[in-house]
Every structure is written in structure tokens, then in C-alpha cells.
């Protein structure tokens, strides 16, 4: 509505004028001045009533009341700056932290993927549940079948990798995606310069056209506007740049590395360097697709199921029934976000609890103040204030407080944003999309409002029903609350303790999980080991590949090892493929081999897939793994010698249960590479299980093959010794490039760093939840301190009498402490029950501890009671120091 411009004073002046005019008229009729005036007033009636009617009519009363309340609330808050500061800070912390977590949740879980019609995007996942493997990748013929099925607009496998970009001053290693020409059309993002690939291009191999990222364009080519058509060499092959993607464009990858793809090369995956298409050769590790518009994922899935069934009928050899081949469509967003969802929800829950505890605390403070203002409220009500007005006024105070707190919180968040983003692990998907956007601000506003209502309600509810006679009789006494208010405050403290306990137990369990993970016996020694990566180029024409066979590669490897050992501080050196870097590879870096064990009549297509690493003989000693039986590799295990393998205990136990694995033979076909090795591989050694795959999982079957017998292109050079992490990469690069100047040397890291990176997400969750738990503990402590202080000050008189009558100070102390402890114990008991529920919900985030870990539960409960005791002790001491004389005169 609108506010009238006419002021009440104007109305008053009009009434005064009326009285004057009327008096005048009556005087003209012969009345005396005094009589005329009295008569005029009588005729007018009730002036105040007229003014009230004017007031009610001419304004929008609710709005007006609201402004009055806001102004009054602001005055009240200004009047007690200490209270206001504490309340605002508590809320600011709560809202700030909640908003921070929400901004991450918003970016990762709530935002759609940054492509047009993201709801049509899916991952295509092949499973062989019969063989016990999931997500095995798809084969080229399968890809073609899917593409032709009519279910999808586009189906597009993507093979991530890195490649040597030469032509610039220093050979650089760039991340690229080998994608079919339809890939960028599938994502629906056009190039900012030039064009993307022609989606209809049917070239079987690489099209020799590449599209580069904005970062690579600006970095390696200085943003040259005439970049289009320029030739570059990738692994010695000549390609032509046809387009530059816009700055914000990213692959829909899960990890930080995949997201920073710098170059896209189009390939049909059906010509060199890819092997000839075979239905059971699953060379495409990851596939995305865009379903036809108008089709839901469920509909697409059911049509795909029919296609899969008919393919299984058509190619029974390739899809044996016992493998139960199945293709799943997973919303792409789910693939991208992955398992972060759980930790994020955990964090959001934790921070919500902190906010709630903050609210309870402020509610407590407000209640304490409300009881101090009980007389004010009672007087106002006795003077005719409507109950609803009083309730509204207190609610307004709460809301004002929470809004100010929210604004401060968001302001702090704005300032600390850079710092906060630094402690978030890089592995968090879509991290670069985290921002304080409008939805986030809206969330902060809503959270503030809800918080304000929560903690404004408690005092408002009490203000609505005061005992007037009781309040007014408390002459002179400013601070006596009703018994009911005291009960509410105690209830709030109990709630606070319960909530804090839940949070602390969650934090305690995470802490124990983390500590257990740190204490885990690794089975290898990561100390003073560095891994530096290099990559042997894979030209599209095998004839130009100087490292095509293991025999061709071996002299290079031996020379690298020889030179590596000469570097300062180096005691040992070894080379392995990327999969051999403990904990340092993503799933995409693994080489799953279909495994055929001698004596079991399995065909390649039904063979289980195992992860293997290809290493030089020095690898085992360098990492300090324990040999249980047999031997490690020897220099003599080269291409001419029989193929050998070293396996871990779990591998042996899985494939030869209750048998001696030594001397057993198996066949491995590298499903990714062109190699088809028909020779049997003999197990020559069994090593103890080491946590090289996963810290949390000690028993992953592992098989190691000799690098002198099988080639690997993506190499890691391991060095052990007193190494200077800054100097080694440079020195090693010089040595490697002295052998072949075309090779990039990159990605140097110590294994200790790798180890701690692999823990980063867990550490982050633990630290954040821990921080929240500490905040909660502090708030709960403050809460109980406030209540006990209040009780003590309320009972000063009584305590004085007791002391005067000769009560022992100890009994006074225990009386006060008992009250506090009773509250804490009640809170802890309720909290323990809630924590049991919560801890089971977060079981997936735990390692090594059970969700009911008695040590954590007992320890946390004791800690909380300790804090409660301490918080009660301070006011209790004050009670002891009460001078009976003063106390008896007290009020």
C-alpha cells in the first residue's frame, strides 16, 4: 500500500481550527467565551477517538507497527551492545559457515551441468556382473550399435590422456582427450574461435584436426588470433588446430585433472593407433551420450535393455550368458559428483547443527533478557498493549538480530572466500564453479529468517502469556523470570548439549577413522621416494615408433636408470608405468587385463579383469615391499625370456585358493593396447599385500609384469634417497632429455605428498566437522554457563541465608554443580541416542571404527560433562564468595 503524506499533526491542526471556528460561532450567538469553548468541545466529542480513527484509517497499520517494532528493536539492541555483539557474532558464525558449505553444495549438487539441456546427458556404463566387474568400458562395435540405435542423439566415448606437445621451446606435456568428432556437438558448446569437429566425420583413426582450450591458446600460443590452421606436433604426429573452445568450457570429468583438458583430438577409434574393432575388446573406458529429446532416462534405459538383449542373442560368443552383460545409463551429473555427495551432505548436516546450537544459545540469551524485561512487558500489557503486538515486537527483535548476524556472516564469508577455497581439496568436483551467487545469498537470507524465528519464538511465546500480577508485584526487582521461563531455558541447554554431543561424536568417529588410516600398515615405504613422470610418444603410424617393442624400449629404460642413479642423493632408481605409482593414479590410469588362468576353460570375453602394473626389477626393493615366496624380477626377464609375473597375496588367494601360486601360469591380454600376447605368463613371486591401490582397502588383487617384457608408454621414474624435491625434477629432465630431447619430464611428487593427497578429502571432512564440533562445544559451554550464572544470581538471597545459617561452602558448591550436571547429563543422554542414529547414517564415511565405537561415545560424553562442570564451576565459585550480609540486603 502507500503511506499517507498527511501527518497526524495536520489533522490535529484541523481539529483545533474546527474548535476555534465553532467557539467563534457560538460566541456570535451570545455565549460567553468559556461556555462557547466548552460547548464546542462537547459538540466535537472525543478528540482522541477522532485522531485514532484518522490514524487507523490513513495508514497501513501493520506496516507502521512493523517499522515501529524495527526501530524499537534497533534501540534495544543498541542499548545493550555486549549482548548484541555476542548474539550477532554467534549468528554470523552459524550463518557464515552454513552458507559457505551451502555454496559448495549448490555448485556441486544443485547446479545443472554447464551444458545445454544437461538433463539429456548420461554416462554409458558397461557391467559384467557375472564376472564380478563393473564399469569395464565399451568396445568400438558396441559404440557403433548404440550410436545407430536411435536412442541417443550422440554417443561419444572419451579417452583421456596426456600427450607430448612439441614445437614450442620446451616439449610440454598437455592433457588431451581423444574424442569422436561428435563429442563437442554432443556437449553442445560451440568454439569461441574457428569451429568444432564435424559430428558426421567417419574417419576411422585420428582426423588430424584438434580443438584447443582457451588456457592452452593463451598460454602456449599467446592468444594468437591467427592460430586457426596452424600445425602442431603431438607425440610427433602433425595436427592442425581448427578451433578454440571458450574460457569456461570443461569436460564433464570427475577429477581435477580431467577437467583441465587442454586439447581435444578427434578420432574414430577404429583405425591406428587403435586396434581393429572387436566386440569383446573394451578399449573405450568412458562413454557419454545425449539421449534423444523427449526421452526420459528410464525410457532410454528400457530401449537400451532391449538392444542389449538382442545383441547378446546375435553374438553369443562375445556375450556369454554367465557374464550377464548389462549397460547402465547414469545421469552424467551423478557420475561427475560421484561419492562427494555423501561427505557434502554430512558437512551440511554438521553445519546445520552448529547453526541450530547457535540459535539455541541466542534464544537462551534472549530469554534471559526477556525475563529482565518482564516488568516492561507486563506494564505495557497492563496499559493495554495487545498481546499479538508484544509477540510481534519480540519476534522482530529476533529477526533483526538474525538478519544483522546473517549480513555480518556473509560479509565475513566474502572476505575469507579465497582462504576458505584453499583448504578445500582439489579433488572436489566442480570446485571452480563454487561462488557466492544469488541462490547462495537467498539461502543465507532464508537461513537467517528461519534462525530469527527459531530463537525469537522462545521469548515471544513467553511474552504472550505473562503472569501480570506476579510480574508487577516484583517491585524493584528487575530480573526475575517466571518459573516457566527458567524451565524453558533449562530445556534449551539440554537441547544444546544433545546437539553438541551428536556433532562431537560424529567428529570423534571421523577423527578415529582418520587416525586409523594414518596408522595403517602400508606394506610399502613411501619415505624419501619421488616419482617423476615421462611419456614415450605413441605415433599413429607404428612404423615410426622407436619404442614399439619392449626390446626397443629397454635400452632407453636402462639408460634412464643409470643416469638417474648418478643424480645427487639418489640411492635407488626404478621405472614403472603410471599404474605402479602407489595411490597416485586415478581409475582411468589403470590397465585392466582380462585374466585367463591355466586349467580353467574361460574365454577372453568372460575373463575377469585384473589391475596390473608394469615395472622394472628395482621397483620392489625401492618401495620396500615384502617378498613372501619366490623371487622378484631379474634383469634377465626380458623379451627373449619366458613371461613372468609377481602377484600379491590377495591375488594368489583369489585365483589359487589353498594352492601354491608359484609356478602357476596365466594369460593376460592387455585390453587397451594392440598387444596380443599369446604366451603364458608364469608366476615367479608372491609379495605381501600392500595398500598401493587404496588406503582403506588392503586386499585388492595385484599383478606385476616386467617392463622389459611388456611396453608401457606412460612412465613414472622412481628415485629413493636424500632428495631435494626442488632440484630433482630439473636434474632428471636434463638427464632424460639428454637421451631423447623430445621427451617431457613432468609431474614430480614425493610419495608422501601422494599419500597425503589421497587423504585430502577425508582430512577435509574431518577438519571441518571437527571445527564445527569445537564450536558447538564452546557454544554449549557458554549456554550452560549462562544458565547456571543466572540461577546463582537469582538465588543469591537464598544462598546468603544458607551461608548465614552455617551451610558448608562445599554443600553450596555441590548444590550448584548438581544443577548444572543434571542438565548436562540429561542433554548427553538424549544426545547419545541421537548420535547412535547419526553415526549409522555416516557409516560409509568411517574406516576402522564401528559406528557404535564405545571409546568415542564414552570419551566424548565425558569430555562434554567435563566442559559442563567447568562452565558451572565458575558461577558456583561466585556463589561461594557471596557475603551473607550483602546477600541478605540484596534487593
Amino acid at each position: 500500500m502507500f503511506r499517507r503524506t498527511r501527518k497526524a499533526s495536520d489533522f490535529g491542526a484541523e481539529i483545533a481550527a474546527h474548535i476555534e471556528l465553532e467557539t467563534e460561532r457560538l460566541k456570535e450567538r451570545g455565549l460567553s467565551d468559556e461556555d462557547a469553548r466548552t460547548e464546542a468541545r462537547r459538540a466535537f466529542g472525543n478528540v482522541t477517538r477522532a485522531q485514532e480513527r484518522f490514524y487507523e484509517f490513513s495508514r497501513w497499520p501493520a506496516w507502521d507497527h512493523f517499522w515501529q517494532d524495527v526501530r524499537y528493536a534497533a534501540r534495544m539492541l543498541r542499548k545493550s551492545p555486549g549482548f548484541t555483539a555476542i548474539a550477532v557474532l554467534t549468528i554470523a558464525l552459524g550463518i557464515g559457515a552454513t552458507t559457505a558449505i551451502f555454496s559448495v553444495v549448490d555448485a556441486t549438487l544443485l547446479h545443472p551441468l554447464p551444458y545445454p539441456h544437461p538433463e539429456q546427458l548420461v554416462s554409458v556404463v558397461d557391467d559384467l556382473p557375472g564376472a564380478g566387474v563393473k564399469d569395464v568400458g565399451i568396445s568400438v562395435p558396441e559404440w557403433h550399435d548404440f550410436q545407430r540405435s536411435g536412442i541417443f542423439q550422440y554417443v561419444s566415448p572419451l579417452g583421456g590422456g596426456d600427450t607430448n606437445l612439441t614445437g614450442s621451446s620446451q616439449p610440454t606435456r598437455i592433457l588431451f582427450d581423444a574424442v569422436p568428432p561428435n563429442y563437442l556437438a554432443l556437449l553442445g558448446v560451440p568454439a569461441q574461435l574457428g569451429r568444432t569437429f564435424d559430428p558426421e566425420d567417419q574417419t576411422p583413426g585420428f582426423t588430424l584436426e584438434v580443438v584447443i582450450s582457451d588456457a592452452l591458446w593463451k598460454g602456449a600460443f599467446g592468444g594468437d588470433p591467427r592460430i586457426l590452421g596452424r600445425g602442431i606436433r603431438l607425440d610427433n604426429d602433425l595436427y592442425r588446430i581448427v578451433g578454440v573452445m571458450p574460457a569456461g568450457f570443461h569436460d564433464p570429468g570427475q577429477t581435477g585433472t580431467l577437467r583441465s583438458t587442454e586439447l581435444w583430438a578427434a578420432a574414430g577409434f577404429a583405425g591406428p593407433p587403435a586396434p581393429p574393432p572387436q566386440r569383446n575388446l573394451r578399449i573405450l573406458p568412458q562413454t557419454v551420450a545425449r539421449i534423444q529429446p523427449g526421452l526420459t532416462i528410464a525410457q532410454a534405459q528400457s530401449r537400451l535393455d532391449a538392444l542389449v538383449a538382442s545383441l547378446q542373442e546375435e553374438f553369443p560368443q562375445d556375450y556369454p550368458a554367465q557374464n550377464a552383460w548389462r549397460v547402465r545409463l547414469v545421469p552424467l551429473k551423478q557420475t561427475v559428483v560421484g561419492d562427494v555427495r555423501q561427505s557434502l551432505i554430512l558437512l551440511l548436516g554438521a553445519v546445520g547443527l552448529v547453526l541450530l546450537i547457535g540459535c539455541v544459545n541466542v534464544a537462551n540469551l534472549l530469554l534471559a533478557r526477556a525475563s529482565a524485561r518482564g516488568r516492561e512487558m507486563a506494564i505495557r500489557q497492563a496499559l493495554g498493549a495487545e498481546r499479538a503486538r508484544l509477540v510481534w515486537q519480540l519476534l522482530t527483535e529476533g529477526l533483526l538480530l538474525s538478519l544483522v548476524g546473517g549480513i555480518v556472516g556473509v560479509a565475513i564469508l566474502f572476505c575469507a572466500k579465497g582462504l576458505l577455497l584453499k583448504i578445500v581439496p582439489d579433488s572436489l568436483p566442480r570446485l571452480n564453479e563454487v561462488s557466492i551467487s544469488w541462490p547462495v545469498l537467498l539461502f543465507a537470507l532464508l537461513a537467517s529468517l528461519v534462525a530469527g524465528v527459531i530463537f525469537g519464538l522462545a521469548p515471544a511465546w513467553h511474552a504472550g502469556r505473562p503472569d501480570l500480577t506476579f510480574m508487577l508485584k516484583q517491585e524493584g526487582r528487575g530480573s526475575t523470570g517466571s518459573g516457566e521461563q527458567a524451565r524453558t531455558r533449562r530445556l534449551l541447554v539440554v537441547t544444546e548439549f544433545a546437539l553438541s554431543l551428536v556433532l562431537m561424536i560424529a567428529a570423534g568417529l571421523l577423527l578415529r577413522s582418520f587416525a586409523d588410516l594414518l596408522k595403517v600398515r602400508l606394506g610399502f615405504n613411501p619415505q624419501s621416494v619421488m616419482a617423476v613422470r615421462t611419456w614415450l610418444p605413441v605415433p599413429n603410424d607404428p612404423a615410426t615408433d622407436i619404442y614399439q617393442t619392449a626390446a626397443q624400449e629397454a635400452p632407453f629404460l636402462r639408460e634412464v636408470l643409470r643416469r638417474g642413479r648418478t643424480l645427487p642423493g639418489v640411492q635407488e632408481a626404478a621405472v614403472g608405468d603410471l599404474a605402479s605409482v602407489p595411490l597416485g593414479h586415478s581409475r582411468n590410469d589403470l590397465n585392466p587385463f582380462p585374466l585367463i588362468v591355466e586349467g580353467s576353460e574361460t574365454s577372453i570375453s568372460e575373463a575377469p579383469l585384473v589391475n596390473g602394473s608394469i615395472v622394472t626389477p628395482e621397483y620392489f626393493h625401492l618401495l620396500g615391499v615384502t617378498l613372501l615366496r619366490g623371487r622378484f624380477f631379474a634383469e634377465s626377464d626380458d623379451e627373449k625370456a619366458p613371461q613372468v609375473a609377481v602377484i600379491n597375496q590377495t591375488f594368489a588367494r583369489t585365483y589359487w585358493p589353498n594352492e601354491d601360486a608359484l609356478g602357476k601360469r596365466l594369460k593376460l591380454n592387455n585390453s587397451r593396447g594392440a598387444q596380443t600376447n599369446k604366451d603364458w605368463t608364469t608366476v615367479v613371486g608372491v609379495i605381501a599385500d600392500a595398500r598401493t591401490e587404496s588406503l582403506a582397502d588392503s586386499s585388492v588383487p595385484q599383478i606385476y609384469l616386467s617392463l622389459y617384457q611388456r611396453t608401457a608408454k606412460d612412465l613414472a621414474i622412481f628415485l629413493r634417497g636424500q632428495l631435494d624435491p626442488a632440484a630433482i625434477p630439473v636434474e632428471l629432465r636434463q638427464q632424460v632429455q639428454a637421451i631423447n630431447p623430445e621427451l617431457p619430464v613432468f609431474g614430480a611428487q614425493t610419495l608422501s605428498d601422494v599419500l597425503s593427497t589421497s587423504l585430502s578429502q577425508r582430512r577435509f571432512s574431518m577438519e571441518v566437522v571437527g571445527l564445527f564440533a569445537l564450536t558447538a562445544l564452546l557454544l554449549a559451554g557458554l549456554g550452560i554457563y549462562g544458565v547456571i550464572s543466572y540461577i546463582v544470581s537469582e538465588r543469591t538471597h537464598e544462598i546468603g541465608i544458607r551461608l548465614a545459617l552455617g551451610a558448608q561452602s562445599r554443600s553450596i558448591l555441590s548444590m550448584v554443580l548438581r544443577q548444572g550436571l543434571a542438565l548436562a547429563i540429561a542433554g548427553a543422554a538424549i544426545g547419545l541416542v541421537c548420535a547412535l542414529i547419526v553415526s549409522h547414517l555416516m557409516a560409509g564415511a568411517l574406516y576402522g571404527v564401528r559406528p557404535t565405537d564405545p571409546l568415542t561415545f564414552a570419551g566424548v560424553a565425558l569430555l562434554l560433562l567435563g566442559v559442563a562442570l567447568l562452565a558451572c564451576y565458575i558461577p558456583a565459585r561466585r556463589a561461594l564468595r557471596i557475603d551473607p550480609l550483602v546477600a541478605l540486603r540484596y534487593e
Binding site: H18, L21, E22, A43, F44, G45, R53, F57, S58
Partner: protein, 116 residues
């Protein structure tokens, strides 16, 4: 004249005050006291207008845009707030008058038929 007992006068029916104000203003702008006096005099002192009730009514009419107001000087040189009929007010007056006539006629008919 003011000695006549107020209780003998007629109380105004709900809503009729607005009509009377509009009607009074048809002769030209007038201040509140003048309006009150005019209603009283024109009705031969039959109608009781509580002056206090007049002003909120004036305020309401002004709010609706039927009358406009501005401060001016009265005939006896006093400051007063003068009200004048707007064109919307004129239309409203015509509407209200015909409504009133129909109402009184209808009520009159009923009362007469009962008598007869």
C-alpha cells in the same frame, strides 16, 4: 439553539454521513466546521452530527478521491482546511443520491403497506 437536547435529534444512519458531506459540498468548497453547521441547519437541527466523526469521514472521502482539500482562510479570517468536490465526487454523489432515493422509497413502501 444549541440548548436543544442532543438526545432528541436523529442519529445518522450508517454511511449517510458521506452522502451528506458530498451533498453539502455541491454548493462550493467548505471547511469541516462549516460542513457540520450546514448539515445541521439544512436539516432544521434534526440531524445529530458528532463533529468528531466528521473528520475521519472527510479523511476517508479525500482518500477515495471524491473530495480534495487545501488549507485556506475562513470568512472570519481563521485558518481552516477547505474541502471541495472533485468530478469523481460529483459522479459518486449522483450515484449515492439515486441509491438513497431508491432505498427510502422501498423502505417507505414497506412501511406504508404494513400500516395499511
Amino acid at each position: 439553539m444549541s440548548t436543544q437536547d442532543a438526545r432528541e435529534r436523529l442519529e445518522l444512519l450508517q454511511g449517510t454521513l458521506d452522502l451528506l458531506i458530498l451533498r453539502t459540498l455541491i454548493f462550493g468548497s467548505q471547511h469541516g466546521q462549516g460542513i457540520a453547521r450546514a448539515i445541521q441547519q439544512t436539516s432544521d437541527e434534526e440531524l445529530l452530527v458528532e463533529h468528531g466523526a466528521l473528520y475521519p469521514a472527510l479523511q476517508r472521502l479525500e482518500e477515495r478521491g471524491w473530495i480534495s482539500a487545501k488549507w485556506g482562510i475562513s470568512t472570519n479570517n481563521r485558518k481552516a482546511r477547505f474541502y471541495a468536490l472533485t468530478s469523481a465526487g460529483r459522479k459518486q454523489l449522483v450515484k449515492e443520491t439515486s441509491k438513497w432515493n431508491r432505498l427510502t422509497a422501498a423502505i417507505g413502501r414497506i412501511l406504508e403497506s404494513e400500516e395499511g
